[in-house]
């Protein structure tokens, strides 16, 4: 299944905050067209790992490379331009702008840069992809929660990233919205995009991920298909404690 070329690889990536080791010696690869789930209990370092990849934080040690080129020393802006785009755990939109303008931000400044009518047309296509093209001229303040998430996803997609980082994109949705959300990400997966997914929703992990990396207290404790890792005794112990393992 994971036969494509390696797009992103982490080697010994470590992040220390003073005495706390938030991410400890992480090694993993993401191959092209793969959906990788980054899972683990709260506080296990998933979001920090994502922040290291997107350049929001610099690793204390280790390297992160995109198609063989080290990127861990670059700024977040440079990393975005090289083709790694992310959503945020708490949705971040541009409050003074319309839905279309929000998405245009990705189209104008991202990995593939567009301008003028071309950027608008591209942004509209991305809005159609996430099912929000009819609200292009709405103000972002008027949107429902899932629609704000859709705008953020469209903005990220508009930059045509090589790797897409979704930080708990499905969190906080109600059951109906969750179903829509999973369908949407499934569609992105079917388009052959390379995605790293930090997620807690087990249904989503089972139905979306080709492979999972499980983290606990900053360490990688398991790696494999969702079925493999979710039945791994050490993973169950990390999630539920010793008694249930």
């Amino acid at each position: 299944m994971t036969t494509g070329p390696t797009v992103l690889s982490l080697r010994g990536a470590t992040k220390r905050f003073g005495g706390l080791v938030a991410v400890n010696d992480m090694d993993f690869d993401v191959t092209e067209h793969e959906v990788l789930g980054l899972i683990g209990p709260n506080g296990s370092g998933k979001s920090t790992t994502l922040n290291l990849i997107s350049g929001a934080l610099k690793p204390t040690e280790g390297t992160i490379s995109l198609r063989g080129t080290p990127i861990s020393h670059l700024s977040a802006a440079d990393i975005a331009r090289r083709g790694i785009a992310r959503t945020f755990q708490l949705v971040r939109l541009l409050p003074s702008m319309t839905v279309l303008e929000n998405v245009r931000a990705g189209a104008v400044f991202g990995h593939r840069r567009r301008w003028g009518a071309e950027a608008d047309a591209h942004a509209l296509r991305m809005l159609a992809l996430v099912g929000l093209d009819r609200r292009a001229n709405a103000h972002v303040g008027e949107l429902t929660y899932i629609d704000t998430k859709r705008v953020e996803l469209a903005r990220v997609l508009a930059s045509e990233p090589k790797v897409l980082l979704l930080d708990e994109w499905l969190a906080g949705l109600n059951p109906t919205e969750l179903e829509e959300g999973i369908t949407l990400i499934k569609r992105l997966r079917d388009e052959g995009r390379t995605i790293i997914l930090v997620e807690h929703v087990m249904d989503a992990i089972r139905s979306l991920c080709d492979r999972c990396v499980v983290m606990s207290t900053g360490l990688k404790i398991a790696e494999g298909t969702p079925e493999q890792v979710l039945s791994d005794p050490e993973v169950i112990r990390a999630y539920l404690g010793d008694d249930d393992a």
Partner: protein
């Protein structure tokens, strides 16, 4: 360019041409107020070019203005042609802005405000010290430039500033600054080099303020640090720009005209209570018009549209 762009460009050109006719009235008092209005219009508009989208409040206008004034004064004293001192002032203003930008634009919020205020004071103290060492209190700026010439220069500069602001607003740089103003984190993660964008625009703003200082130098005839680097100038520019509103290019102008007239009236009628009344009017502005005249006009338009929609 759309039809609407041409319309607004033509309208602006006509308004500038009308403004340029003011000296034809032959009224010296009108001309003097006209110079003050044109000076603050350019300063407030160029200030808003940077501070409007980014929400970084700069109190360094006086530093750039004074730098320009002194560049012209020193240049003329050393036999330089007046017209040559304008581009030199612009370059020095841009360089100072770039230095300040590299040092401070990582700071945000109140830290940036305090740094810029401190910078203006620092430059003033350095110039004062320099003059004390050289034994002069101030400098004479003796030229054959009249008030009418100064006025026309300022109107022309206003035209350049509006054209620049209009071009920036339609460019990637302008869009990048709006994104930065909304959420710097998103801007960075969208691939925008935020420091470069902010520094570039701060340089435009600083260079403009320096050229205004240069143009005003012949009007003062005698300049000294307390006049050229007056902190009052920085504050007045901010107040006027906020009164007008920074969301639109023409916003600051809408604040400059009434405020200058108000200021003239207050200082003429109550010379001893000027600062007090100025403070009071500032409080009233902030309470009643938090988004400036632009905000007032736009919410009025929206109310009108909503009423039509329901009718």
């Amino acid at each position: 360019m759309t039809k609407r762009d041409w319309q607004s460009l033509t309208l602006s050109a006509v308004l500038l041409a009308v403004a340029a006719c003011l000296p034809l009235t032959g009224d010296a008092y009108m001309l003097s107020i006209g110079i003050t209005i044109a000076m603050y219009a350019v300063l407030a508009t160029s200030w808003a070019l940077f501070s409007g989208p980014t929400h970084y409040i700069s109190l360094a206008t006086a530093a750039f203005f004074g730098l320009g004034t002194y560049t012209t004064a020193i240049g003329i004293e050393n036999g330089m042609n007046y017209w040559l001192t304008l581009p030199i002032a612009a370059i020095l203003g841009a360089v100072l802005a770039a230095l300040v930008g590299f040092a401070t634009l990582r700071l945000s919020g109140v830290y940036f405000v305090i740094f810029t205020l401190g910078l203006a004071e620092l430059v003033r103290q350095v110039v004062t010290w320099g003059q004390n060492v050289s034994g002069q209190k101030g400098l004479y700026v003796l030229t054959d430039i009249t008030e009418v010439h100064i006025y026309w220069q300022l109107v022309a500069l206003a035209g350049i500033v509006y054209l620049t602001g209009w071009a920036i607003g339609r460019s990637r740089l302008g869009f990048a600054l709006r994104i930065i103003g909304d959420d710097e984190e998103v801007a960075r993660h969208s691939g925008i080099n935020t420091s470069r964008a902010k520094i570039l625009l701060f340089m435009v703003s600083g260079a403009t303020a320096a050229v205004v200082g240069s143009m005003l130098a012949p009007r003062y005839i005698y300049i000294e640090p307390a006049l050229a680097f007056s902190p009052m100038l920085s504050f007045l520019v901010v107040i006027m720009a906020l009164l007008g509103g920074t969301g639109r290019l023409w916003g600051p102008l809408v604040g400059v005209i009434p405020f200058t007239l108000l200021f003239e009236t207050i200082s003429a009628s109550f010379p001893n209570q000027t600062t007090l009344l100025l403070g009071l009017s500032f409080l009233v502005i902030v309470y009643l018009l938090p988004r400036g005249f632009v905000g007032l006009i736009e919410s009025g338009k929206r109310r009108l549209r909503d009423r039509e929609a329901f009718a």
